[in-house]
Subunit: 398 residues, 2 copies
Amino acid sequence: MNNLFAERMSKIPRSFVREILKVTEDPKIISFAGGLPHPESFPYKEIKSAASKVLSENSQEALQYSTTEGYKPLREYIAKRYLLKGLKVDPDEILITNGSQQGLDLVGKIYLDKGDTVLVERPTYLAAIQAFGLYEPVFKSLPLLDDGIDTDALDETLTSQKIKLFYAIPNFQNPTGITYSRQKRQKIADILKNHETILIEDNPYGEIRFMGEDLPPIKSFLEKSVLLGSFSKIVSPGMRLGWVVAGKEVMEKLVTAKQASDLHSNYLSQRIVHQYLRDYEVETQLEKIRKMYKRQRDLMIAMIGKYFPHDVEYTQPEGGMFLWVTLPDGLSSMELFNRALKEKVAFVPGEAFYTDNPQKNTLRLNFSNSDDEKITEGVRRLGTAIKNLMITEKFNES
Amino acid sequence: MNNLFAERMSKIPRSFVREILKVTEDPKIISFAGGLPHPESFPYKEIKSAASKVLSENSQEALQYSTTEGYKPLREYIAKRYLLKGLKVDPDEILITNGSQQGLDLVGKIYLDKGDTVLVERPTYLAAIQAFGLYEPVFKSLPLLDDGIDTDALDETLTSQKIKLFYAIPNFQNPTGITYSRQKRQKIADILKNHETILIEDNPYGEIRFMGEDLPPIKSFLEKSVLLGSFSKIVSPGMRLGWVVAGKEVMEKLVTAKQASDLHSNYLSQRIVHQYLRDYEVETQLEKIRKMYKRQRDLMIAMIGKYFPHDVEYTQPEGGMFLWVTLPDGLSSMELFNRALKEKVAFVPGEAFYTDNPQKNTLRLNFSNSDDEKITEGVRRLGTAIKNLMITEKFNES
């Protein structure tokens, strides 16, 4: 029977993170593995009120089929918010998707022929590898430095070979938490202007900057790029609402692909989120999330300082939901994962985030969906597991 | 720039129906072109109450990320309802999708390599052609007779060549309104048991049978087939909730593909629809829809009898939302479409529903999203347009 399935399916294992999340369902385990927003960050009273309003005033419309592009006033809202940040976008250059994950799928669908090359950061977002992977490209990865991708390597790669897409997450990258500097953003735009390669700029966490200066999207310097956004980290991921920003010609293809994929995104939820954004001040909501996540991030870093051996390195993100840990050379985070489970603490081993030659001594920690007690105790347990691993390794060496 | 897009995009024009729907936005036009449920059929008060309940009692959960498979109690409800109809399905064999359109996309994604053959009814559902089309198969079509597909032709085709998928809509087919007889269902299952071909059985309208005897899905006789269902015609299409039923091995692939495509379906809506189905009797809702659509279908058929020339043929569907008209040989429904627009009435020319050699004298009429006045006046106008077309054609011939 197996040969009945399309070739593309043989290339995609079920998500590693998904399997890990199953292991960590045990309530005794403190998990830093997931990538969930904190449920207390959801504006649930406001959403309830918005839902009630939509279903009282516009129910026949909100429950009916709608346009593939998405609810126009919601697209206008998104365009206006970009303008506040210095990016001029027409509402017709915005397509509402089922979370930005669908944006990735649609991008793969319209751009990728089998064998095309997709350039990604090293490491990169696992679910992007999966979404693009189903269109059977070849992946190539470039080193991610503290201030963004290695632009010399980018220039060299684009010059020496044909690259269809370059996928990047410039703000509080998943999995590393790294943010691209303003200089790097400008430099990337300059490089890409000389090549046919399309930049796919993913920005699910941009609004959750809790320190440092807000930086413009690379699309501000490079009109031809495609930009992805999401309400998942701001309002609610359960409603699956994201968007893609692209120029007219690309948008036509995206709309055709979206129509064939599911006709349109959930219209009731589009109306509810729009009603919420109209009736409430989103900045209040954002401030609440930023404050909450910054507190948790600060505590996690403090506890790492306290409980981890001093030769363990880690990023200090200015926003988002993750930080990235690098163990001393030679240690394996998969091995650590098994030990950590015994200590009742979990994380995602870094291997999951590489398209090739994984750096085996890395791991991702989530700080958004946690609390003080869990962070303090979980990092302590993880520190114990790391120390035990180091002792065993030293013992094995000698 | 065009050569940057994937080859698959060059094969899919934007939906013809979509373009037609734009033309018919003029409120003076009576349109039988769309495929929308009647907005008065939506249980909006009940949905409002269900939404309020979910957002009061389970808001943190309902707004959070969820599983790819979908809300388990909703899948259990669907399984129970199948059991009432004699089909035994495990809830774990059900995947919740963004409308059944996404089911089609996922089926294409997991099964179709470029060049695989997909067998369809002649004519068939336009959006299925689009969904599968993006995976670059070859289409082959078989005649649709009054009681279902031509099974002799099916047997011969499956024996003489390799067919990956056979896509069929056995209940109140879109666009024709035709229903497969019990004998044909059994016969199709018997034929398919001898071949590797997978049946994709699409059943969006099955619950809207307003006359005749309920018939079992072909899957009842053929376990290996894949069955698609939808809440769009029962509760609300705007919430984009459908499902796929498939055995364990296929389900694993579907879940992998769904996860890469959009992680999961809108969870808030899944909870709302489940709450609605728990708190209210769905049969009451179904009876309301069936009564409404039967009345409209009866009136449309009566008006066709009154206003159309006697040599125009049409189907008499026992359920669903569409009927299918065949003009006398030699007449073109595209030509009729232009004339009908002048009379301020619209429909979908049949050409849109063929994968090859369209039968140009056919057209689809929707009766669900209409009312007595529109049906009476619209069919009268369409009758006038047909008569005028026939006179011109005769004049041209002589």
